[in-house]
């Protein structure tokens, strides 16, 4: 009986180690590509939000006001040494699981833009949050996340008041708005602490010249 158990254990261990070795090989092969894809997506979103950006400084100590909403990464976005704003990758619970958004904040303390990085939801309903051709405002062609562009960080961010909900996906709309709100609150706190110094202001006025091409078209959705 005891002998049997040892034999069975060894057989199982053998199968497991062979499977493990095979997986290690596949993992090693695909690892680079998977990381590249994630980076590509991130860079594409960044480019969309901050067209002039070329440097990203990682921010470590960004606290979330809501315990359910986590900031995966946050960056101080710069063009050379001139700060452009903040980009916060925030994840929080939504209707179909965790949703991840990239929230960009400019130096005027308004939202420069929001990109959906990851969203699991009902196709045709909540999934419309990441659908580029679903408009909450058909006349102005504003998408759900597009409507946040240009909003001030101190705005109330309440669905059905200053945020238009996705039809038949109120839970998703509320959850995403909450994530954006949490990111804005953190951005205010960070800016109060670190970016209130006068040089930032003079840079901001320099900034204004280059802004119309970059951020203005998005703010049209306000």
């Amino acid at each position: 009986m005891k002998k049997d158990m040892v034999k069975l254990g060894i057989t199982l261990a053998l199968f497991a180690s062979v499977a493990c070795a095979c997986l290690a090989v596949v993992y090693a092969f695909t690892k680079e590509n998977i990381e590249m894809q994630a980076e590509k997506q991130f860079n594409a979103s960044m480019q969309e939000l901050f067209p002039q950006a070329n440097a990203f400084d990682k921010i470590q100590d960004l606290a979330s006001s809501d315990p359910n909403i986590k900031f995966e990464t946050a960056y101080e976005v710069k063009n050379g040494t001139i700060p452009l704003g903040l980009a916060i990758k925030a994840a929080g619970p939504s209707y179909g699981g965790t949703a991840t958004l990239l929230v960009a904040v400019d130096l005027h303390r308004s939202i420069a833009g929001v990109e959906v990085m990851e969203l699991k939801d009902t196709p045709g309903l909540g999934m419309n949050a990441s659908n580029p051709s679903y408009y909450v405002d058909k006349a102005k062609k504003t998408t759900f996340v597009g409507q946040f562009a240009g909003k001030f960080l101190t705005d109330p961010f309440e669905v059905k008041k200053d945020v238009v909900a996705i039809t038949a996906a109120t839970i998703t709309s509320r959850s995403l708005t909450k994530i954006i709100k949490a990111a804005s609150d953190a951005a205010i706190a960070y800016m109060d602490q670190k970016m209130a110094a006068p040089p930032a202001d003079s840079n901001a006025s320099q900034q204004q010249n280059s802004q119309p091409q970059g951020i203005q078209p998005k703010a049209g959705g306000k």
């Binding site: 069975l8 199968f15 499977a19 993992y27 590509n33 998977i34 699981g97 045709g124």
Partner: protein, 215 residues
């Protein structure tokens, strides 16, 4: 094993013993992913791949697997192939991998694979196992694509992401949601049973005619 017998094994999975429509196993992921045709194709192919390789490996090693620990060994093999599919999809088809979400890793616990491995691959030789896994895999895939096509067309007005219905068409969201999935699925079951009965009847008349001729 003659060609004819192999074909018979292969055909079982397509209609007579279709895993979804006749055996009715592995339904949850089938209803969940069939909201678009591209998802259906992706899931079907991923499933067929895992099914084929798991069955082949287990058939090859069937004499080396002690029956007391066969289930854990099966799970190790299936999980290894599923993880491979998941990694490859993430690396080369990121969009597809994103839209299927958690359902690719969940292939591990799909009863179709476990069922086929336990009931077929652990007892049969390599050639018939290949025929069986391809039959079951394709049987699964065609049902997924069919389900997804109906649901996407009626529920979203598109097919594989291409707009088919005129823009005046108001999509019937019901079909995209799970109840619509069950509704379409039940129609598929009815169709499959009708098809099976018809094929059996034609076979019987053929046999009768052959007998009469012989007499």
């Amino acid at each position: 094993m003659t060609m004819k017998k192999l074909y018979k094994v292969f055909r079982q999975g397509l209609i007579f013993e279709n895993p979804l429509l006749m055996l009715m196993i592995g339904l949850c992921s089938a209803i969940a992913v069939t909201t678009s045709v591209s998802n259906g194709i992706g899931m079907g192919l991923a499933m067929t791949f895992v099914l084929l390789f798991s069955e082949v490996i287990i058939s090859l090693f069937r004499k080396l697997i002690p029956s007391a620990i066969r289930i854990p060994v099966f799970i190790i093999v299936i999980a290894a192939f599923t993880t491979m599919v998941d990694l490859v999809m993430k690396a080369y088809f990121p969009d597809l991998s994103k839209s299927m979400g958690v359902f690719i890793p969940l292939i591990v616990v799909n009863c179709i694979i476990m069922g086929r491995v336990e009931a077929f691959a652990s007892k049969q030789n390599l050639v018939s196992v290949i025929a069986d896994s391809l039959g079951m895999g394709l049987g699964y895939t065609w049902v997924l694509i069919g389900l997804a096509a109906v649901r996407e067309l009626l529920g979203n007005g598109t097919l594989a992401g291409i707009q088919i219905m005129p823009s005046s068409y108001q999509p019937i969201l019901f079909f995209i949601l799970p109840p619509g999935g069950f509704f379409v699925f039940s129609l598929f079951i009815a169709f499959n049973i009708w098809l099976k009965k018809k094929m059996e009847a034609s076979q019987r008349t053929k046999e009768l005619a052959a007998k009469k001729e012989a007499a």
